[in-house]
């Protein structure tokens, strides 16, 4: 991303209406409650993921496994049986 002097950047931001691209970023997380209203912290990948992907398997660690149970957070949903087999999430 190009860098501007602070004031020039501010004016550029104002003039162009540029948004802060939060939706395009991947955030690391280390616990529950830090991912905002529509995401959860994946217990194995340790990144913020959409709520409907919180039960994705990650590199062999599936919901219900001992490793999963050990890593899950207080807000990790009850995933039941192993969910999506093919996951794009990567482990930490």
């Amino acid at each position: 991303m190009r860098r501007f002097p602070p004031i020039a950047a501010a004016l550029f931001l104002i003039a162009c209406g540029e948004d802060i691209p939060v939706e395009n970023l991947v955030f690391r997380c280390e616990g529950p409650g830090v991912c905002g209203p529509d995401m959860l912290c994946h217990p194995v990948a340790r990144v913020c993921v959409p709520t409907d992907r919180a039960c994705d398997s990650v590199e062999g660690v599936s919901p219900g496994s001992a490793a999963w149970e050990a890593a899950k957070f207080s807000d990790t949903p009850a995933c039941g049986a192993p969910a999506t087999a093919a996951s794009s999430l990567s482990a930490e």
Binding site: M1, P6, I7, A9, A10, L11, L13, I14, G17, D19, I20, V22, L25, V26, F27, R28, C29, G33, V34, C35, G36, P37, M39, V47, C48, S90
Partner: protein, 274 residues
């Protein structure tokens, strides 16, 4: 550059040479237009005292001397000067665009033409015309005092108000813009790991920054718009008020303002005449 300075620059530099009546008259009018009434009085007196002054120049000097004295709160002397003008300058015509109040004083002097108090002809007008008061005109002092020329702030109230709005809105816009930029910088500069994942701030914090930045950016845009409009209004107000105050002692404000703010809009209106 003021009108006085322009006139002074245009006139030939004469060193120690005494200014001609024409030059004195031009300097007097320039000083009058620049609200420098003491200097204007001196120049008009010099015209009247000069044996080289033409009748037309004496008439103009007397008329402007009367205007100057009216605006300089010397009504008795103004009546005396204008009476001399009215009786000695029947072919002299006042300049266009003078204020109704000055016009009224001129008409009053013309109406008094032929009376003993107004019998001194312009050609004989002495430099001391501005230093003596006529008892006959003292009764009008209270009336003229009511036309006292307002102060700079009152004459340029619209300009000052617009300039103040400009400064305040620009300051607010700048502050908001810097705040927005600070929020953006906090996210841009947040630490990331080797896979590009943000580790310096949480997503919840990033969303807070985004929401705050959006609302502040909107407010900043409004403030920039207001400041731009106010800056333009400052120029217009100065033009209107400067034009109005040059030839009028009126305290009336020639500019009217209106302002309004709605949730998604801001309005600043300016009304005036010239």
């Amino acid at each position: 550059m003021t009108a006085f300075a322009v006139a002074a620059a245009l006139l030939p530099s004469g060193g120690a040479r005494a200014a001609s009546p024409r030059e004195e008259l031009a300097l007097g009018v320039a000083a009058y237009n620049d609200f420098n009434y003491d200097a204007a009085t001196r120049h008009f007196d010099a015209v009247l005292a000069s044996p080289l002054a033409l009748q037309e120049q004496r008439c103009d000097a007397l008329m402007y001397l009367g205007f100057t004295q009216i605006l300089n709160d010397k009504p008795a002397e103004a009546d005396r000067s204008l009476d001399r003008w009215a009786s000695g300058c029947p072919n002299s015509t006042p300049p266009k665009g003078i204020s109704p109040k000055l016009r009224q004083r001129l008409d009053a002097a013309i109406a008094r033409r032929g009376s003993p108090a107004a019998s001194a002809p312009a050609a004989d007008a002495a430099p001391a015309a501005s230093s003596t008061a006529s008892p006959a005109s003292s009764s009008t002092s209270m009336e003229i005092n009511l036309e006292e020329r307002p102060g700079v702030f009152r004459r340029y109230m619209g300009t000052f108000i617009c300039a103040g709005v400009t400064l305040v809105s620009m300051g607010a816009a700048t502050g908001l813009s810097l705040t927005v930029n600070s929020s953006k910088s906090e996210l841009d500069n947040a630490a990331r790991d080797d896979k590009g994942r943000v580790t310096g701030v949480t997503r919840a914090r990033a969303l807070e920054l985004e929401d705050g930045a959006k609302s502040k950016a909107t407010a900043a845009n409004i403030m920039w718009g207001v400041s731009g409009a106010a800056l333009a209004a400052t120029g217009v107000a100065f033009f209107l008020e400067h034009t109005a105050s040059k030839d009028s002692g009126s305290a009336a404000l020639p500019v009217r303002f209106g302002a309004g703010v709605a949730p998604n809009a801001a309005m600043f209106s300016l009304h005036g005449s010239f």
